[in-house]
């Protein structure tokens, strides 16, 4: 069964690389085909990679606080470039300061992200949600195969 491709990366001028490496590890072992762009990724780079690899979802990380600025217009750019269907997730320390998560979530949902996650989210549950969302949007046949506990992560960027 073909694996669904997803794009990972940390947006903007953000250098936080540890969480990104863990996301790659987890989503790979959860059966996705992970294209990890590493840190400091621009919106354009995300979109290009998604087009090139025919990805089903982009998982944007932002840790350093500028997420609110960096993510503006992300959905528009996707649509502009013809990625009408693409699933957009975003997670991390998305805004500057400690804010109630509900406020943050609303903000990023308004920007067009399908799901928004706080830093302590359980990644296995995210993988589960992602499988569901892909199924819903792209139909049964496109769904990622079930969990592959032994899959070792594949490097797609020397940045990692």
């Amino acid at each position: 069964m073909k694996k669904d491709t997803i794009i990972l990366g940390v947006i903007g001028s953000d250098c936080h690389s540890v969480g990104n490496k863990i996301l790659e590890l987890v989503f790979s072992s959860e059966g996705f085909h992970v294209v990890n762009l590493g840190v400091m990724v621009s919106q354009q780079e995300f979109v290009n990679a998604a087009i090139e690899t025919n990805a089903k979802a982009i998982l944007v990380s932002s840790l350093y606080g500028h997420g609110e600025i960096d993510c503006q217009g992300f959905r528009d750019l996707c649509i502009e470039k013809g990625l009408d269907q693409i699933i957009l997730y975003v997670g991390g320390n998305l805004v500057v300061g400690k804010k109630p998560f509900s406020v943050v979530e609303e903000k990023f949902k308004k920007m067009g992200f399908d799901r928004v996650f706080p830093p302590d989210v359980d990644l296995k549950k995210v993988a589960e949600l992602l499988r569901q969302d892909i199924k819903e949007k792209f139909g049964q046949e496109a769904a990622a195969e079930e969990k592959q506990p032994d899959a070792s992560p594949k490097k797609h960027s020397a940045a990692n």
């Binding site: 001028s13 250098c15 690389s17 350093y64 606080g65 302590d120 940045a159």
Partner: protein, 482 residues
């Protein structure tokens, strides 16, 4: 090829012209005026003096991190940390756009912050505010202020903030590149930091001592002490060559108390040794201990204990300064209140153990000796690769993976070494990548890791590393199997 040589005045001035052009505020910078201003600063605003006094009186000074987008808010913030937080030393933490020299985005961030009525930047965009704006900050507080950032090319930032009267500048060509950037060649950042150090040297030659502080913790995540110590010594050597006299070398808490205290000991002894070896015996060398730099627990009560442990160990290590975290660490840039809470908790913890002698040199000997032997392995190879030149050697070392920072984002870093904790929480090296550590040393590391594997009833595996990365944020030091 880069060399560890003093930049000559002519070359410096040529580069300088270009640097100052990169943003309008650069045009107003005058080193001479800066020097004149520094000479008017009272003693209690001079960073190097404060560090020296701390060393003489065996004190550990407290410094927070803090920076917001708008200048008045930033001043309010620092004043609050001074009064309510009783900080001994003040920071000005620079925002991440400025760190990447993206001054236009920083400008936008300032605008958006004005609109939003709150900081939309994760730090203070000093370049955009120029000498004048920055000097308002220096003028508004009564303690020494340091620029804290993470900027691979900090030349303009240094020109502006030093001329404005900041008396200490953090960073270095390795420590502000590899953990903070993706595409900056090591040689480039080393050169740009030679510039910064030379600038400090010029101030020094004019009687103005600026303190320099390489960034010890690197990625803050399972960094074996030998790596951060080697990097600190190299950056120290490079700075000294450009004329820097006041140096504070740093180390980020690893979590095991013995290892942390031993690391500061080894750092101090080795740095003195290497500085002397390169012919310098007039360096004011001090140390700084960073409270836990990895992932924090979200719960504030738990975060307070991480802070307290860091404070206690900072004090036991005898470091002259401790960089303080806040109970908001896991969540976001702290409010001024949370920041001051971190300071007050740290003060209490330090003061309670200040007079106590718990660890004697003998208790630490094994670990200090180990760390020293490891650092010597790394340094020897760096010198060898550079044919005796530490700058050239560093570039070659990163190319060869002889220096390798775990979990770093830089494309110029091998990222091959795999660190993990042993059964007592010491950070050990499982896979050394290309680090030139002796077989004997690696055998010891493996043996200690084997003890853990046995205790946990699982083979040494990459899973241990991820478990270790999460461990403190989930309430433990060693990431035991769940």
């Amino acid at each position: 090829m880069i060399k560890n040589e003093k930049i000559d005045q002519k070359e410096f001035l040529e580069i300088r012209k270009e640097v100052l052009k990169t943003w309008p505020t650069g045009q107003k910078v005058s080193i001479e005026e800066g020097i004149r201003y520094h000479r008017t600063l009272p003693e209690e605003k001079r960073f190097s003096l404060a560090m020296l006094k701390a060393q003489k009186s065996r004190k550990t000074l407290l410094q927070p991190r803090a920076g917001v987008a708008l200048i008045d808010d930033h001043i309010k913030l620092l004043r609050y940390l001074e009064t309510e937080g009783e900080a001994d030393l003040l920071p000005t933490t620079i925002d991440a756009y400025t760190r990447q020299n993206r001054y236009e985005e920083a400008e936008k961030g300032i605008e958006k912050s004005k609109q939003a009525g709150t900081s939309m930047l994760n730090g203070f965009p000093a370049v955009n505010y120029g000498v004048e704006g920055c000097r308002r900050v220096v003028e508004s507080v009564s303690r020494p202020v340091q620029v804290r950032h993470g900027t691979p090319d900090a030349r303009l930032l240094a020109e502006i903030t030093l001329a404005a009267g900041f008396t200490s500048f953090e960073g270095g060509g390795i420590s502000y590149n590899i953990p903070y950037a993706k595409r900056v060649p090591v040689e480039k950042s080393l050169r740009d930091w030679q510039y910064v150090d030379r600038l400090v040297g010029i101030y020094e030659e004019n009687g103005v001592r600026i303190n320099r502080e390489p960034f010890g913790p690197l990625t803050g995540t399972l960094v074996p002490p030998c790596i951060s110590i080697a990097v600190g010594i190299i950056e120290g050597l490079l700075a000294i060559k450009q004329g820097v006299k006041s140096i504070t070398l740093g180390y980020g808490q690893g979590g095991n108390i013995i290892q942390d205290v031993a690391a500061i000991s080894a750092l101090r002894e080795l740095a003195e040794e290497y500085f002397r070896q390169e012919g310098y015996d007039d360096i004011e060398l001090t140390t700084v201990f960073h409270q836990w730099m990895g992932g924090f627990p979200e719960d504030e009560a738990k975060a307070f204990s991480v802070i307290a442990l860091g404070a206690i160990v900072a004090r036991l290590s005898g470091a002259e300064k401790v960089i303080v975290k806040s109970p908001h660490e896991a969540m976001g840039i702290p409010t001024k209140e949370a920041n001051a809470q971190g300071l007050r908790a740290t003060r209490q913890a330090i003061s309670m153990v200040e007079d106590q002698v718990i660890l004697k040199p003998e208790d630490l000997k094994t670990e200090v000796d180990l760390i020293k032997a490891e650092v010597r392995c790394l340094m020897n190879k760096v010198y060898e690769l550079g044919h005796g030149d530490v700058a050239a050697g560093t570039v070659a070392a990163f190319e060869a993976g002889v220096l390798d920072i775990p979990f770093a984002p830089s494309l110029y870093n091998h990222g091959k070494i795999i660190p993990m904790r042993d059964n007592e929480g010491f950070i050990r090296i499982f896979n050394k990548g290309n680090l030139p550590l002796s077989e004997e040393i690696m055998a010891y590391h493996r043996q200690r890791l084997q003890e853990r594997a046995q205790a946990e009833g699982r083979a040494i595996s990459f899973e241990m590393v991820t478990d270790d990365i999460y461990a403190i944020s989930k309430g433990k030091l060693v990431g035991r199997p769940r």
